[in-house]
Symmetry: C2
Subunit: 128 residues, 2 copies
């Protein structure tokens, strides 16, 4: 249906998998071969290759030309676009956290009130 | 295979569609009913409902309790996690842009050099 997937959709799609995000995290420490990238995961070679193809299509990784090793390296460029898109929503999540703060403040006030009442009862019950 | 999708994967998955991102953008202007949300898109009611379900599952929108209208509102909370995840890669995309800058500087220097040579030739060809 979709003639060509837009860049941002492709980036978000590539990031929607924990293994692919773990591969990117590993590549922040430097380039790595497919074997090195596969090592920490309990998944097959072909499955890793599929993940790498998704990351490569999203231009989040680039692969060397050496036919045998084809080391992968991180290309964080598309993440800049993600950061810019997300930044537009900052004021909204700050608002939602403000609401959470208000809610928690409310809870705390109620708890304090309940605790002081409890204390009052305890004092009242205390034999003189 | 995946018992429970992690929050970040669910958020990225929900964001990997341009219609869903357009719905979120619309909701930054305030809550809206399904009909209002569907209006700008040339897609069916059920398709919009599916998109809203994905956004709701990712907790990016919340829906009112009014059975008939169920207005949707933005909940940007999960986008904070996206911003935090992305921020870890900032120094890498800055590096990749530095490389691009270097490349473009190199191109420009070459172009200037070529242009000045061209000028030199032109001057040489100029009849005295």
């Amino acid at each position: 249906m979709r003639a060509q997937q837009d860049t941002l959709s492709r980036t978000f799609g590539a990031l929607s998998d924990p293994t692919r995000r773990a591969i990117l995290a590993r590549l922040t420490r430097g380039p790595a071969t497919v074997t090195e990238l596969a090592a920490p995961f309990d998944i097959s070679g072909p499955a890793i290759s599929r993940h790498l193809r998704v990351l490569e299509r999203a231009r989040l990784i680039a692969r060397g030309r050496d036919a045998q090793w084809r080391p992968c390296r991180l290309d964080a460029g598309p993440l800049r676009e993600v950061a810019e898109w997300t930044a537009e929503y900052r004021r909204f999540w700050e608002k939602s956290f403000d609401r959470l703060d208000e809610y928690l403040d409310g809870l705390q006030a109620k708890r304090r009130e309940a605790a002081s009442k409890e204390k009052g009862h305890a004092r009242a019950r205390k034999p003189r």
